[in-house]
Subunit: 352 residues, 2 copies
Amino acid sequence: MGGDHAPESVLHGAAEALTRHAGLHFHLFGDEARIAPVLEALPALKDASTLHHTARVIASDEQPSVALRKGKDSSMRLAIDCVHAGKAAAVVSAGNTGALMAMAKIVFRTLPGIDRPAIASFFPTEDGKCVFLDMGANIECDAKHLFQFAIMGDAFARAVLGLEDPRIGLLNVGEEDMKGHEAVKEAAAMLRNPDLSLNFHGFVEGDDIAAGTVDVVVTDGFTGNIVIKTAEGVARMLAHKAKGALKHSLLAKLGLLLALPAIRRIKDHLNPSRYNGAMFLGLNGIAVKSHGGADAEGFANAIGVAVEIAMHGLNRKIIEELQSTNGSIMANGNGSNSISPTDPDTSGMALA
Amino acid sequence: MGGDHAPESVLHGAAEALTRHAGLHFHLFGDEARIAPVLEALPALKDASTLHHTARVIASDEQPSVALRKGKDSSMRLAIDCVHAGKAAAVVSAGNTGALMAMAKIVFRTLPGIDRPAIASFFPTEDGKCVFLDMGANIECDAKHLFQFAIMGDAFARAVLGLEDPRIGLLNVGEEDMKGHEAVKEAAAMLRNPDLSLNFHGFVEGDDIAAGTVDVVVTDGFTGNIVIKTAEGVARMLAHKAKGALKHSLLAKLGLLLALPAIRRIKDHLNPSRYNGAMFLGLNGIAVKSHGGADAEGFANAIGVAVEIAMHGLNRKIIEELQSTNGSIMANGNGSNSISPTDPDTSGMALA
């Protein structure tokens, strides 16, 4: 029920995901009166789905605290509960990010050794994409949080991008050791620990993100949120400028026509729906947030990210990496925590 | 002597600035053996310049603290001293930013009511440009600093852009009042004071910068530095992608050729040299930092910014705006400070 084009884009996205990943089963949570008619036109999806009716929807502007208290019968909460009960491998939603994070945190809880979950996403680079976190879950971060984000980003890049030794960079205002505030300097010192199996590149600057200098860029949620949105804004402004300038003259229009296939390739590389799917890392359960404005293809990509995470046992990797560093780095005793990552049937997806 | 192409780009830039602003006089500080031969080829500039020889140059990687202690006879320091002595209206340098700020702060001191100077620059937007600060002079900022940056940005937009009622935005992770960390929330509360003559728009997000939602975007130097560099990186990546894709096929190449005038217009709008000139705001003296990689045109633009600031009495405007808010907002007693802004002959420029 979440996002600008629900339930249509969610359902058409699920149908598309089904053609890409055979054997998926969907638990659909929401208003039956609106979902059932769309499902009728998607027989393959209908066969692969269980529809759970609820009239309660978390509004896009609802306060996370209100959603927590009063949203226990909401489509979002029921989808999270479904994953927590082991009936689905992951929850995918295009709804209210803050509410999704708050509920997922309460229901799933954080992984042992992780103080705060983070939101990670892909950022397009010169020759591919990098993992970028935190996108905004944690406005204020200390060194330990940044350190844990690096561990999570590393495990994510290994598990989902299949990189053997991902390069990790800490976002800062310069590359030299003395640059930045205390939290980034301390986090860098922690990440330079030779006992870590992490490939820590050191500090990176803003222009290193799109340059692809590293595979994982780590920052606090305040900077991260602003960076992602600045990049979106710049790309949009340039596209408008290019469009405006090219439509200015007949010759340019003709040129545009000839260059169209090339332009489509650029657009494809930058298409936000290609990078859709913000991953909630550090929770004992898988939650993926689709962009609220995503179309069916974008939502299918978000489901694809959830499938990748589930198949590659990301959370086990995070726990192992944290436990291996526990002796030398972590002092909060969480290493002995008995929570183990949920590892349900990876074919089930809960869509809210 | 500063920047990647000194002294050539500095001198050719000064010669170009002279054609744009008749009546300028330059004080040139640096190595006579390297400057004099270039001047020979620029007779108009030679006539309008006084050359002050010094062999000492601040290196681009020199620590600001070292530059302060050991750089008293450097070209940069002598140029600043020249402004402080009232012999020039502004100093323009393409050299080491940290050293330039440290020296300018020590020699000029801050304006009454200003705790910390900030670095402002222009950011290209959908329909023009906005003023963006702080670009990195202040890594950690509290609410009072952000408030002062807003006052300085407002005065700058009025003085240099000629805007009557510039819209001021505070960069944050959302537009709602409860978003962000304490410093931005407190600064917003201070800026909402109805006694202020400021047109405070409220919080803006990353994508609002390039969209041109406001005329002045205020943020701390950590976020600001990363935002500016992220934007540069994204623009560079997109340009590379476009170039690569367009060269992919013969048809696209032909299309490119036809669209060339249109593409030149986009490039012109985004040309970094068009936005060259980072302004040090809040000092009792005018200092403009040119990008180290600027060409002659870029350096001429940086001189142009210094001329604008000097002609419009920016520092008087900042002091007046702060004094008018003194009763209701400022509690640090600096309003009675007896320092008055230097107001020398605006035709003199010191180039280091």
